[in-house]
Structure formats: C-alpha cells, structure tokens
Amino acid sequence: MKIKLSFWKLVFFFLMAAGVYATYVRFAKGLGPSTNLSDQFPWGIWIGFDVLCGVMLAAGGFTLTAAVHILNIKRLKPIVRPTILTAFLGYVLVSVALLFDLGKPYNIWHPLIMRNPHSVMFEVAYCVMLYTAVLSLEFAPIVLERFNLQKPLKIIRAVLIPLVIGGVILSTLHQSSLGTLYLIMPEKLHPFWYTPLLPVFFFLSAIAVGLAMTIFESSMSAKHFGRQLELPIIQELGRVLLVVLSVYGILRFEDLLHRGVLKLLFQPSYETYLFWLELTLALILPLALLTQKKVRMTAGGLYVTAVLVVLGFITNRLNVSITGLEGSAGVRYIPKWTELAITAAIIAAGFALFGLATKYLPIFPSETEHVAHEPEVVVGSEVLSHAGD
C-alpha cells in the first residue's frame, strides 16, 4: 500500500512539473509555439477533450441531484455528494482549461457585457457560469457542515429545491448546446456525426456518462479510501444506464438510417474506423454486457461497463470535435506535447483535489455513522498524514 501510494505521488508530481513548464511555454510564447493548432485546425484537444469531455464527465451532478431531490429516489441519496463534488471540480477545471485555450484569456469576462444572444457559445458561457454558481451553492453545505455553520446551512436548505431545478435546466441547456455548437458547420463536419439531432445526442450521452462516472467513482473510492457504495445502489444505476444507452442507441441508429449514412459505415476510411471504435466502446460492448444478468449484478462487471461507456463517449466527443473535421480541413491534427501536458496536469489536479476533498469533508456516507464516534480522531489524524497522496 505504501509503495503504491508513493508511486502515484511520483506520477502526480511529474505531471504537475510537466504542466507547469507547459504553462510557461503557453503564456510566454503564445498559442502557435505551444500547440499544433493552425488556421486549418483552430480547435484541438483543449476544446475537444478538456471542455467537451470535461463538461460531459461532470454530468453526474445534475443527473443525481435530479434523481434524488426531484424524483425523490431516496436510495440514491448517499451518492449525491460525490457527484456534486465531481461536477464542481469538473466545471472549475473546464474554466481553467478555457483560460489556456483562449487567445486572450483576460477577456474571458467579455460575454458579461458584450452580448450576442445568437451565438451558441454565448449561451454556453452563460449557462456554465450560472451552473458553476449553482454547483458551488449545492457544494457549500458540505463545507458549512464540516465547520458546523448552521445559519448559512439553513438558508441554502431553504432554497435547495429551486436551486436544484435551476441547475437541472441549466445543465440540460448547456450539455445539449455543446452539440449545437457544431450545427453551424453542416458542410464541414463528417456525416457520421453531423446531424440536426446533435444537441439531443449530447444531452442523452451526458446522462449516460453521468451515471457511468458515478459507478466508476464509487469503485475508485472503494479502492483508495476504503469507502464504497452499497451494491444495490450501483445495480440500480446500472439498470438506468442500460435504459439510457438503449434509447440513445436506437435514436442514433434511426438517425443514421434516415440520413442515408448507413452504407458509409462499411466503406473503409479513417472516419469509419474511429466511428466503429466509438460505437463499440460506447454502445455495443456496454449493451452486450449490461443485458447479462451476471454482469449487471456484480460490482466488477458494472465497473468495467462504466469504464467502457466513459471511454466510448470520450471517443464520441473527440470524433465530433477532431476526427469529423479533419477531412474538410484537409489536415491531420495531432496534439503537441504541451497540449497533452496541460491536459494531463489538469486531470491530475482533478484527482488530487477529489482525494483531498473526500478526506477533509463529509463527502461519502462514512462508516463512522455506524461506528462509535470516538475512534474517528485516530482516522482523522492518519488521513492528515497522507494529505496530498
């Protein structure tokens, strides 16, 4: 255990060091020298992965708050906090990534006073901004509780339901709008991915990924913090995931059918291979697995499925934002090391912050609830000594 922890520590510091150096290159030399972006290919992985995938991976926040607070599914309550934490960290990190990508990051606040309501990006900017505010309010009780501040806690609890409703609406809007971003380029985006249904697909897949991420996180925290969600909860998530994926799959198939793209699926090409990769990871394998009772009922099986779904939809976002545009741009885009280093550092920071938060804040339904309170002091100080692992 000790060796394993210091190995990850080493990886973490290596990634952070590379990230710091890459940050220096980015801001001292500019976008040109620090990226492989060009006039032909102006958006790379900072948009395709950090922003598109980042927002998608944070979708568990609104999915679970809606399930628990609106649909009143009480069994899922114990996992609301970890998903809110993930979502909050996710959005903060997306904003950080955006600062790297924008040519003039210090103008990031401009949409506040310079409005263009016809721009999808403008709408996304507002939704993300407001939703991050909502998330920090949803997250605040966890911190307030830790320090036992009852007054502000009461206020937030009183407005929790309107807050949750607002959060769900804002999420629906910007999760789908990230797909709408690409509707303006019917001639540029490859027909595998360009469809008027892009917003619907982005929204549905965000829900699927939100569920998958919750399953994934639960297993991760079981490994690293010895805390795990009860199997029945994960099984329930698996069931919902199966339904969402089936709906998505059918819609996706019907869309390809009606747009007459199905025949293209069997013509060998760069796009075809990556399309099949996406489909296999996001739909074919997870559906095959989830329909097996053996898989759906075990934590291990659900974990594997969740990882596949997450990887599959990451492939989907990268296909929409990169693969699908390479053909019309007439160039191949491969990210530069600096782009990868900054992305990796941001992910590493996300993991570290998640780890820290679960240690210091009441995130997981801790076992201490069922155990006497006295031994917790010991647990607490041990946790402190591992800070930053």
Partner: protein, 266 residues
C-alpha cells in the same frame, strides 16, 4: 443599398495589383515572397490563384448573413448595412469559433503573437462607409474586380452570362451560397478547381443554430414547471405523513453526523 464586389476571372491578368493594394491598405508587408504565397493568411487577406492561364481571387466573401458574426459570443464580428463584415479586436477573446464556423475558411489567427487577433478582409469598411470603392477594386487595371451596388452587379453578371454563352460556367458564385454573399464571382472553369465548394447550402448558416437556440426561452419556464411539478408530486406522500405526525427535523443530507462527531471528540 448594400455594396458588393464582382470579380470576373475571365478579365483577370494575374497582375496581383489587388494583393499589393490590399496589403498597403491594411498595413501589411508585401514583397516578392509574400506575392508568391498562394493562400490567405494572417498577413495576406486576398490571393490571386493561378492554374495555367486561368485565375481566381480569394478573399472574405462578406456573407449577407455571416456564420462568423453569428457565432461570435462577444459580437466582435459584425455585418454592416453597407455590406462589409467588420472585426473589433478589443472585444475579441480569441475563442476562434469564427474560424471553425466560416464555411470558406476565411478568418486567420495571429498564432505567434501574445496578443493575437483574428485577421481577414473586412471589405475596406472605412472606405466603403466614406463612399469610396475598395482598394482592390480601385487598383484593378482591367475591371476584373469591380465594386458597386450588389443589385446592379448581379444584373451585370447575369448580362455577361447571357451575352457570352459558353464563355462562363453558368453560375454566379455568391448569389445564393449560404444565403448570398457580398462578393460575387464569375469564372470560365468550375469553381471547385480553385477550392470553392459548390455544394454549399442556400440557407444562411446561422439558421441551423438559431432553430435550436430560439427554443430556449420557451424551454426554461416549461422545464421549471415540469420539474417543480414532479417534485411536488413525488414529495406529496411525505407532506401527508408530516401532517399526521409531529414534525421531525428534516435533513437533506444524511451525513451531517461526522462533523458533530468531530466536535465532540475535540
């Protein structure tokens, strides 16, 4: 009212006077090396392409309903009533959505600058506003590049097509492409030869996103009521229970205990 540029490739002699005039107008370097470059860039807003003795100009089409302006979150790009699509660098935050959205791949970026700008032909908007013609039209010795009222130029282009059967490809490029543009092109060889796509939609591109965006104001109250309603229904049972029993302290999060445990331990 709206102005336009008509470029007739059959009159062009590849003298590149338009390139030079454009560089001078926009205070860009222009020498033999730049003249030899055959693609638009952040330092070259217009190029004359040559294939044998056939020529073709490339410049911003200054679309009637420009995708670039529609996607810009801060309205740094704007279509003026006179025709030009202009750019205000101080508003721009450098998201480069305009570059991704433009169907002609026109906007270019100053990748190597620390304070980068989007760069493109803005149809000499200051000159046009002052009632003058664009620098490139001004410099053109043969009249291949002609500036004028869009309506009149369309009539003239149609006349040229009509009077010279077989000379031209029977198509005024820019008349209907993406809803029409303020740059109109005539050519004797297919436009695709010079990279102009002829399979572009006739709908203005901003429509494609607007169809979705325009639903949002309707969606918000609807979503609010549906979600609120579902909440009201799903929590009804608890309300009933609460009325029958003496009220219990409701805690939204079940794990408020650890913090209290902490305190007690101290």
């Amino acid at each position: 009212m709206s102005k336009a540029i008509l470029y007739d490739a059959t009159l062009c002699i590849n003298c590149k006077q338009c390139e030079a005039a454009c560089a001078e107008k926009n205070q860009l370097r222009y020498d033999d090396a730049v003249a030899a470059e055959d693609r638009q860039s952040e330092h070259k807003f217009t190029v004359v392409l040559a294939k044998g003795d056939k020529y073709m100009r490339r410049l911003c089409m200054n679309c009637a309903d420009p995708a670039c302006a529609s996607v810009c979150p801060v309205a740094a790009l704007r279509k003026t009533p006179e025709g030009p699509v202009i750019y205000e660098a101080s508003r721009c935050m450098g998201c480069r959505y305009c570059m991704v959205a433009c169907p002609f791949g026109v906007p270019k970026y100053e990748w190597n600058k620390l304070v980068p700008r989007v760069q493109k032909c803005t149809m000499c908007s200051d000159r046009v506003e002052a009632g003058k013609q664009t620098s490139c039209a001004d410099a053109c010795p043969t009249g291949a590049t002609k500036f004028g009222e869009r309506d009149e130029l369309i009539t003239e282009a149609q006349q040229r097509l009509h009077d010279n059967p077989g000379k031209y490809v029977n198509h005024i490029y820019g008349l209907n492409e993406v809803g029409g543009t303020s740059v109109l092109l005539l050519s004797s060889v297919p436009f695709e030869e010079f990279g102009y796509r002829t399979d572009l939609t006739r709908d203005p591109l901003p429509l494609f996103t607007y169809r979705v965006l325009s639903r949002i104001p309707d969606f918000i109250p609807l979503g609010g009521v549906v979600l609120g309603g579902v909440w009201w229904i799903t929590h009804r049972r608890e309300e009933v229970a609460a009325e029958e029993e003496p009220p219990k302290k409701t805690v939204f999060y079940p794990s408020s205990d650890p913090s209290q445990g902490d305190r007690r331990a101290k």
